[in-house]
Amino acid sequence: MKKPNIKSIPYEEFKDNETLEALIKEINSERTNVVVGALDDLINWGRSNSMWSLTFATSCCGIEFMSLGAARYDFARFGFEVTRNSPRQADLIMVAGTITHKMAPVLKRLYDQMADPKYVVAVGGCAISGGPFKSSYHVLNGVDKIIPVDVYIPGCPPRPEAILYGMMQLQRKVKIEKFFGGKNHRAKKGEMNNDPIIVTNAPIIDNEKLSKE
């Protein structure tokens, strides 16, 4: 079986290899052409080493994400250093922080605006399940309720090392994907509610009509 390789960390040292292997099995259930398979590997090598994330931070986890970008942790070593402010140019969205009721449609809209293939990383307790604010009236209990999540990084907030580890897990996921023929692991239509959200413009209110009311 094809095993995704991360430089200087042995395959066995990663946690949750079972899920990844099940995924590989599913993707490779149909046979692959040698030439096309080699092309896939080449594309995935390039993609996994230049993951561009959207700068999307709502609270504390965002500060740890900034630390990740600074001198000590320096995620440029892994090819994540380009952060994009526009969802159109981003490969992944890192949901760093609490998602509230008011923010939920905005997050969904940002996700919809991103071009495929796209990935979601849920950083911190709040994004995973609501975290310490689970019982609040205004907090969404987990972003996986509205968008499909690829990697969960627990912590409140997670240490920068944990975020790096999570990003490597995502790289491994990217490395096994297929573009030419065969199955792709992305959620299919119907599995997740992928309908775009309704975007309404501000209504034009007729003053005369209102004053008559």
Binding site: L54, S67, K102
Partner: protein
């Protein structure tokens, strides 16, 4: 705390008198209250900015259907947003308020969450996935004789149709979080600004009403995560004051050192982010490099990097480690040498100076009226440091200067913070060598109950005054808890600052005001 209750009819005149005759020009807090049977009300905490004398006023109405109270936003400008918050949470209408609508929650939210009879069920307020419609219409209300509100007219008064509107946020790197501005432009100039908050409103105040006091401590760190120590310090201080717990000297020293380290940490992050917003990546890297050294100290003592959960009722969670004093002293020496580097690389850069000098001025009167405490207020010449005004911990025993600038522009706001790093180092150096021996924590009862009454406490957070108000009915959890956000007054003042400035200056102004959105939204 014993607020004086004033009758609604006398209220506007009395408030005017307090402001004009007694010089109560700073509205410290405006707290919405739900006293159940006794009705809904508001508590005002006023302060004289010269004598630092405080005055607590309260007002209430028994009408739960259509509660109306007179506004005070013509006296203190910050009340405009504070009253919108009260309307959002309690449904109290303020008569003559120019812009009465929700501040944090969606327009289509049902009910008023901080009322005691609010129904939290998911069925009433599900997660709505359609975009919120931004209403540009202000409804006017008329009070009929039977004190019933009636909608009579609607008029566009916020941003009218023929203005060019730009939407910034909630997902925008320069808003430092999830804040949304709607700007009406004329050419490059900003004519009107409409601020939408609440994208990170987590309802901490309502949640706290169901939690015990030690449980609430965990939430304060997540309000303004760059003043985690100070926030928690304020809440612990308030609870200790209410229960009559005397903390040891050792605790006071440790808390003071930690607060100052946190302040340096926050100001370094401010410097980094302000630099990055203006396009200087190098200064960002420098700031974060030095910030990591503080985080190392935090991690060694408390176990947490960003959120430390260190203060606790009656003391701190764990004693300082043996090498703590040495490490802190080493760090202070290191940091002093680096400040020159920031100035060389960023502050004295001609582009920085041109983009900051004379941009986004706040006058002294505006700063007080909007209640802009912290570095922003001090840059405008207002001596508003809580450490000097109402000393706590051991701030009355140490010698330090309150940094005050006069012009109140972006450059001064920036300089205040750079100088405050030096002052914080100065404070730490005075006390790091003589931390007294003793217990780091006094024993408290296993179940913490606060005696009946209202209590307040305030500390100087990293970006202003952070206050805590607790009303207790003698239970394990508070009846009402209110945190004074440091950032909301700054946001309120933005309207005034931005009018007539160029849109490119919005970035410099936003960066130097130094707000943190989770602290505004709570």
């Amino acid at each position: 705390m014993n607020p004086i209750f004033i009758d609604i009819k006398e209220f506007p005149q009395r408030m005017q008198e307090y402001k004009d005759l007694k010089g109560m020009d700073f509205l410290r807090e405006l707290i919405g209250m739900d006293w159940g049977e006794e009705g809904l009300g508001v508590i005002y905490i006023l302060e004289n900015s010269d004598t630092h004398e405080n005055l607590e006023i309260a007002i209430k109405t028994t009408d739960r259907e259509h509660p109306t109270l007179p506004t005070v936003c013509h006296l203190w400008s910050v009340a405009e947003l504070y009253e919108r918050e009260v309307y959002d949470f309690f449904g109290i209408h303020f008569t003559d308020h120019p812009d009465m609508r929700r501040l944090f929650l969606r327009n289509d939210w049902v009910g008023y969450p901080l009322r005691k009879d609010y129904d939290e069920s998911e069925a009433i307020n599900p997660v709505r996935m359609e975009s919120e419609i931004t209403e540009d219409v202000q409804r006017e209300y008329e009070i009929k004789e039977e004190a019933e509100l009636k909608k009579i007219n609607a008029q566009t008064n916020r941003i009218s149709g023929d203005q060019y509107v730009i939407n910034i946020g909630p997902q925008h790197p320069a808003t430092h979080g999830v804040l949304r501005f709607r700007l009406a432009l004329e050419g490059e100039e900003i004519r009107k600004i409409d601020i939408h908050c609440g994208y990170i409103h987590r309802g901490i105040e309502k949640m706290s009403e169901k939690l015990t006091y030690p449980q609430i401590l965990g939430l304060t760190d997540r309000l303004d995560y760059l003043s985690a120590h100070q926030n928690r310090h304020a809440l612990c201080m308030c609870i200790e004051k209410a229960m009559g717990i005397e903390v040891t000297d050792r605790t006071q020293y440790i808390r003071t050192i930690m607060d100052e380290l946190q302040r340096i940490d926050s100001h370094l992050l401010f410097l980094s982010c302000a630099a990055m917003d203006l396009g200087a990546i190098t200064a960002f890297i420098y700031g974060f490099r030095d910030r990591e050294k503080i985080l190392d100290i935090f991690e060694e003592v408390t176990g947490g990097r960003l959120i430390q959960n260190y203060n606790t009722i009656g003391g701190v969670q764990a004693d300082i480690t043996p090498g703590f004093a040495k490490k802190v002293k080493e760090y202070c020496e290191y940091q002093k040498s680096k400040i020159k580097e920031y100035n060389d690389v960023f502050t004295n850069n001609i582009i920085t100076q041109l983009r900051m000098k004379g941009v986004g001025r706040i006058t002294l009167d505006d700063a007080i009226s909007y209640g802009c405490t912290g570095g922003t207020g001090r840059a405008s010449g207002w001596a508003c440091d809580v450490r000097k005004r109402h000393p706590y911990a051991i701030y009355d025993k140490v010698e330090f200067k309150e940094i005050i600038y006069k012009r109140g522009d972006c450059y001064d706001r920036f300089k205040v913070r750079i100088d405050e790093i030096k002052e914080s180092i100065h404070i730490i150096e005075q006390i790091i060598d003589n931390i007294p021996e003793g217990d780091y924590k006094v024993k408290t009862k296993p179940i913490i109950r606060i005696p009946e009454g209202q209590y307040t406490a305030a500390v100087e957070g990293s970006r202003g005054e952070f206050g805590v108000f607790i009303e207790s009915h003698g239970e394990k959890s508070p009846y009402r808890i209110k945190f004074r956000p440091m950032g909301l007054p700054l946001i309120a003042a933005m309207h005034k600052i931005l009018k007539g400035t160029k849109i490119a200056d919005l970035i410099a102004i936003g960066a130097t005001l130094d707000y943190v959105i989770p602290d505004i939204d709570r």
